[in-house]
């Protein structure tokens, strides 16, 4: 009886792992590695790589610069409606990408909420690189902000108080104490947000379209190359797997390196559902 159950567990684990590995193996095994690397040099692949890199990096810098102080405030202050606000920030985490895309159009599109104002300044966002950045910001920033809030929350308040009594201004407390103490958790959130932004597809294709060299990011290029050049699509896919794998490794190793009691990827998964009560 017990033996039978053990076998059942083993079978379930084998199926799970095999199923998850198979598509990744397919990416690398279907075409020789040398040919994959050669395909990355094709103009279409290079264009997509550049667009992805540029938009992801710009979006990420914005997320860090705006998201960090916002998360600090949300973590430190207690006010009415704070729980609801944090839940609202997390909503894009669970939103279907198509909804994100149509939402962005409804807000920033020509006939959207802010469309008139933007047009008055001669700005038309849809189908530009700025639209790609907005799409990434919308889907990726909650990953970082959510994680940053819980990282700042886990900083001992007494230590921050101590810094104040030692003559530090709030700005110095943030820079010299809170930021370094939350660093490991912030790095994890940062890596997760970057990975999510790099892989963004649904909202981008609806809000920014797929213009090669302008708004066609790596995931969009994979989709476009699918019909014309399957090998290039495979090569781009393999590239994204490598980048994502490197980011995952970073996320898993960071907390161990800094030996802080902070976060791992799995704590993130838990805190994203439990945070609304905070």
């Amino acid at each position: 009886m017990r033996r039978g159950f053990d076998l059942l567990l083993l079978a379930a684990t084998t199926i799970t792992v095999a199923f998850l590995i198979l598509p990744l193996a397919g990416l690398f095994l279907r075409v020789p590695i040398g040919e994959l690397i050669a395909q990355l040099g094709s103009p279409a692949a290079l264009d997509a790589l550049l667009v992805s890199l540029k938009t992801s990096v710009i979006a990420h810098v914005i997320i860090l610069l705006v998201g960090t102080p916002a998360a600090y405030l949300l973590a430190m202050r207690r006010f009415r409606g704070r729980g609801a606000l944090v839940a609202l920030i997390e909503l894009p985490l669970v939103l279907p990408p198509a909804v994100a895309g149509i939402g962005l159009l409804a807000a920033f599109g020509r006939r959207g909420l802010l469309g008139g104002e933007l047009e008055a300044f001669g700005v038309s966002l849809p189908f530009t690189q700025a639209a790609v950045i907005l799409a990434i910001l919308f889907v990726a920033s909650p990953f970082y902000v959510r994680q940053a809030i819980s990282s700042f929350e886990s900083v001992d308040r007494e230590v921050l108080d101590a810094a104040r009594t030692l003559g530090a201004t709030p700005r110095r407390v943030f820079g010299r104490v809170a930021l370094p103490m939350a660093w490991a958790g912030l790095s994890v959130g940062s890596a997760l947000a970057f990975a999510r932004g790099l892989g963004e597809f649904g909202a981008t294709i609806m809000f920014a379209g797929s213009l090669p060299g302008v708004t066609e990011t790596l995931p969009l290029a994979i989709y476009a190359e699918l019909d014309t050049d399957f090998t290039t699509a495979l090569a781009l896919g393999a590239l994204l797997v490598l980048v994502s794998g490197a980011l995952l490794l970073l996320v898993r190793l960071l907390p161990a390196w800094t030996s802080s009691p902070s976060t791992s990827l799995f704590r993130f998964a838990r805190s994203s559902s439990g945070s609304t009560s905070a």
Binding site: D161, R164, L166, G167
Partner: protein, 317 residues
């Protein structure tokens, strides 16, 4: 209360001032930021910066005296260590050095001995007493331990639910406690009952346990008698009948050594006797004993209305 002085908590009303410098005044809407108040705050958990070395922790408060303070507190050999690598006693020295590096005009100590084990605590208490004498800085120290307050403070204030019950020297608190709570904090044993003046300079207290004890204090109604352990003597046989001498029969419930003395619990009372006399009497658990104490050393206090949370506060100078 310390947080209010440091500016970390905002009191509903009142005033915080150091000398002629007002830090907080609810009536005048004055409220200086914590960094504008010259305080050296020693937190209960020390609150060291875990990401900084010992030297950087101390230098955070002020670089000028950092090296000298590390030396003064005997932690200069730990300058490059992280706070997590230190023992409790070392952490406290570093926290004190850091608080003083700011060159504060007032020192705030929050339960400085509570996080240490008894042995370290006794050493640190002696060191702290020496340090406070050397610094001659106005110091506010919060403790739940009357002995700490009495050793380290010049004046001891007893705070219950945010209100000062009594403020005075430790000796005053012992000899003339304002209420039963203060008396118990100062080490007294309480016997509750109903008092009735006899008219001959004595008051009789019938305790709830049915005992009858006498005091030279004049009081009537629901009261508590305060008996300090060092006023209680033990004997095998009851002393000669004398209404100015209270005597309670009981068996020894426990006998705990405190220094070179023995704390003996006999019935409702606690007696503190020398180890020598304990040996002479053959004090041991379960032995019958007579606990006697003079009516003249027995204080009577009116019973308070309602119980209270305990918080002691000592202030040193």
């Amino acid at each position: 209360m310390l947080r209010a002085v440091a500016g970390l908590a905002r009191p509903g009303n009142g005033r915080v001032a150091l000398g002629d410098e007002t830090w907080f005044d609810a009536a005048k809407s004055i409220d200086l930021r914590p960094e504008e108040r010259s305080v050296g705050f020693l937190f209960q958990g020390y609150a060291l910066f875990p990401h900084l070395s010992v030297a950087d922790n101390v230098a955070f408060g002020g670089r000028r005296r950092a090296g000298e303070l590390l030396e003064r507190f005997g932690v200069s050999h730990l300058a490059e260590a992280r706070p997590t690598e230190l023992s409790g006693g070392e952490r406290q020295r570093v926290a004190l050095a850091r608080a003083l590096a700011r060159e504060p005009r007032v020192l705030l100590l929050d339960e400085p001995l509570s996080a240490l084990d008894a042995e370290t605590g006794a050493t640190v208490r002696a060191e702290l007493a020496a340090l406070l004498a050397e610094l001659s800085l106005p110091t506010l120290l919060v403790t739940h331990d009357f002995e700490d307050a009495a050793t380290l403070g010049d004046r001891v204030g007893v705070l219950v639910e945010g209100r000062v019950r009594q403020l005075g020297s430790a000796a005053e608190l012992v000899s003339a406690p304002a209420d039963p709570f203060v008396a118990r904090l100062a080490g007294g044993t309480l016997l509750h009952g109903v008092a009735r003046p006899l008219g001959n300079g004595l008051t009789e207290l019938r305790t709830d346990e049915g005992l009858c004890i006498y005091s030279t204090d004049d009081l009537a109604g629901r009261s508590a008698a305060v008996v300090y352990p060092w006023d209680v003597s033990l004997s095998r046989d009851p002393p000669a009948a004398d209404s100015r001498q209270n005597a309670i029969d009981g068996t020894v419930l426990s006998a705990v050594p405190v220094g070179n003395r023995l704390r003996v619990r006999v019935g409702p009372l606690v007696a503190e006797i020398t180890a020598a006399s304990a040996e002479r009497l053959g004090v041991a658990e379960g032995e019958p004993m007579v606990a006697s104490f003079k009516a003249g050393t027995t204080r009577l206090l009116p019973a308070p209305a309602g119980a209270a949370r305990t918080e002691g506060e000592g202030s040193g100078h």
